[in-house]
């Protein structure tokens, strides 16, 4: 699984939670999930759990806390999926 493939799936997972749909069109690894995509912070739990289900990985609290951008999410998933 390449980082590009993971990134695409990450964006797909986050899409239903993003209020700023215009920002999704130009999303890149630096796009901030809360600020740029206007995702409600209450929905972050759903996103983390969706990552776990989609990629069959376990995400611990500390790893989840470090995710700010789409790139952070992608790197974390790739890292966990390959270990």
């Amino acid at each position: 699984m390449t980082e590009n493939e993971v990134f695409t799936r990450v964006v797909k997972i986050i899409t239903p939670f993003a209020k700023n749909t215009a920002a999704l069109g130009t999303a890149n690894v630096s796009t901030r999930i809360l600020e740029d995509l206007s995702v409600n912070s209450a929905r972050l739990v759903d996103i983390i759990l969706a990552f776990e289900d989609e990629f069959n990985i376990a995400i611990d609290d500390d790893a989840a806390d470090r995710v700010r951008t789409l790139g952070d999410a992608t790197h974390m998933i790739v890292s966990k999926a390959t270990h």
Binding site: S41, A42, L44, D46, I48, L49, D61, R66, V67
Partner: protein, 263 residues
Amino acid sequence: MDVSAGARSWRSRLGVDFRVGLSVQSALSRLICPLAYHPLLFYLKFVRGYKIAEIQKIRASFNGLLAETKDDPLLICANHLTMIDSALIMWSLSPGWKCILESRRFPWNLPERTIFSDRWWRTTLCYLARCLPITRNGPPGESKRVLENVATLLGRGDSVLIFPEGGRSRIGRIDVENFSYGVGMIAQSLPNVRIVCVFSRGGNQAEYSILPRRGETFFVQFKLLNWTLKSKGLRGAREIALQVIENLAAMEHAYFASHSSSR
């Protein structure tokens, strides 16, 4: 992402300075209560003309709930339509003088920070009304800090009032699609916490507002939730929060069923 606080034991993580700060705020709020809460009650009753339907019956039931739950911490989860919901709930559950004497009857609140931070007197009022301000969609770490405070207070046997919807419902009904999992995170960290679902609504309240209209009569109902937990961690938090919101929605459904049939 700041999503994880609930799966941890927070009580041990809160520093001494924060614990002392909470104790000072707790003591000051009880001292000032007669000067702050009672004038507010006067305003609600006699200036705005609000009434709580069957208030004596509600208070008697709440006394029974307090006796049943003994010293267990109470996490009060309520629906949210107006800016005075916290005061209305406190008023409906206990007489003012009892709130001064018994800490569990004077719940802590988690209001949106921006509502109270623009004027010094609002900030002071917020502090004395046992509020722990939280910034909606705020910086990572802040919500965790507030939840740590909440867990500490509950661990001391205090009660905390939370609006699981995170704000006043924009749809005028309980929003079962958009609610936070904070209540589940707190409950997971304190196994003896008792969750009380409180539903309140003015008879003429059509949608969310700042203040209900003058002369409004409020219907208030509460229920001790026997919550169950099958999963751990974040899934568990979501599971508990879902049970809370579904119970509130069921209470709302019952309210509309009985009030539409009685008209």
